[in-house]
């Protein structure tokens, strides 16, 4: 088939429209009945509790590496004591939210796309509609609510683990004082930093759930299509998370001045 720029542009606009409609509908479903509470709790367990090990490990070791790297540069200025401040600020404002978002995206956007994609190609989505259930309400909304809610708390855990990791390296390898590490870290944080770190996972959670479900529900072409959707979901959600992170950071700098 001949490549047509017009058809390509139209397909992109159609995809954006479909994605926007799906996101809008899944949000609107929160405010009307029926609500599938059992599905929300199941998803919270799968997304939140299930992602806990990778979030804890990623957060902890990121904090460790951050302390090691920071100490090398800070030593040149005789400011190794500020390692706590650097690790805490970096984890709370940027690395905690973004890395948690990316890790959960890799684990759950792929999971959602493959699960819903398999249901789509085996006609289970059509069967659900034929049995009188709206798949957006039953499948997408619970995943959206669960991801946004759990990612918020996973980010807090990741921040804490990162700071703990930084403290561990500072005390054991850099021979710094633990009290100094935590004190400088705590003193460096302002309300704006904490708000910035807690707003980002709300956006990331929304992106992970809606992108994962969107690619899952538009799957065609059998098992090969499921694989393709899964890959596309992870790539798209990861890129959009970083893009939105940039925009939110810019907005927060505008709001809080740092």
């Amino acid at each position: 088939m001949r490549f047509s720029p017009e058809a390509y542009a139209k397909s992109i606009v159609a995809s954006v429209q479909e994605y926007s409609l799906l996101s809008g509908r899944s949000l609107a479903n929160i405010f009307s009945r029926p609500r599938y509470m059992a599905d929300i709790f199941t998803q919270m367990d799968s997304i939140g509790v299930g992602s806990l090990p990778i979030v804890v490990l990623t957060g902890f070791f990121t904090g460790c590496v951050l302390a090691l790297q920071a100490a090398v540069s800070l030593k040149e200025f005789g400011a190794v004591n500020m390692t706590g401040e650097l690790v805490t600020l970096s984890m709370v404002k940027e690395l905690g939210p973004v890395l948690t978002g990316l890790m959960v995206s890799g684990r759950n956007a792929s999971g959602m796309a493959s699960e819903l994609g398999s249901m789509k190609v085996s006609e289970q989505i059509d069967a659900m509609r034929a049995l009188g259930t709206d798949p957006t309400r039953k499948l997408v909304t619970p995943r959206l609510v669960a991801t946004v809610f759990m990612l918020f708390f996973l980010t807090i855990i990741s921040d804490a683990c990162g700071i703990a990791g930084g403290a561990f390296v500072s005390v054991t390898l850099l021979k710094l004082n633990a009290a100094t590490f935590f004190h400088t870290g705590y003193m460096s944080l302002e309300h704006g930093d904490v708000i910035e770190g807690l707003v980002k996972p709300i956006f990331s959670g929304f992106i992970i759930a809606t992108i994962g479900c969107y690619y899952g529900l538009k799957t065609t072409g059998g098992t090969r299509g499921v694989g393709k959707s899964t890959t596309q979901a992870v790539v798209a959600s990861s890129v959009i998370i970083i893009l939105v992170d940039f925009l939110v950071t810019q907005a927060m700098i505008g709001l809080f001045g740092r």
């Binding site: 249901m119 069967a127 509609r129 034929a130 049995l131």
Partner: protein
Amino acid sequence: MAETVVSPEMEKFIASGGPVVEFDDVSIGFEGHDVLSHVSFKVAYGETRILLGPAGGGKSVLMKLANGLIEPDSGEIRIFGRSLREMNEKEIFEMRAHVGMVFQESALFDSLNVEDNVAYRLVEEKVDPKEIRERVLEALRFVELEHVIDKFPSELSGGMRRRVSIARAIISDPDLILYDSPTGGLDPITSTTIMELVIKQRDVSHTTCLLITHRLQDAFTLATHRFNVQDKKVEKIADNGIDPSTKFLVLNEGKIVFDGTTLELTHTKDPWLREYIE
């Protein structure tokens, strides 16, 4: 299964004598390729309409159109006398409560066991759990699969999955059943079991149904056999008789090439049809 309980609105519709399914000049295409082209036909109340035709002729698409799962590019589809185009999403979901559908590959929910799959619609309708259990057992008894109630779809054979799918479709005593290739990909013995269930459902509940099949043998079994309620057995209709409520619709390349009774089909002079049925 027990005799169908007809809702008041359905009683009113039956009294009107209108067709249960009506396609009026329906066309649909995907990616520039026509799948159905100017299709028009009617299915009367209590009729069993068999859809025949080569693979890729648009039969499954027609079935999905009839349940409002996809929308036509042009033309009008009326189910129980109401145009699908004029219904909003909520009304289409309400309409589907009167329709049972058996999918080509069963489409059972992998994450639910047989009991929850069959009970799905009743759970959604918030029916009393005690009543749900009784009706699930009744539906599974109908398809002779009571013993697999706790199993998951992955633990069942293809034929069993198809039978569970039939149980799921008939549990709410629908007024219209859509069977999308219920015997597709099954061995002859299992196919016969499935066709016997379809005949049993037709003769016990007299539900209107649309059935796709690729096997002519299954289609003619449906037209020439009946369910004996006394003996609880499917048997050949005496004196080479034909079930009057069973009719045929043949589709080829998205167009209707035949719409009529079993006798009309077997006596057709159309060369393509003759070749196809022989």
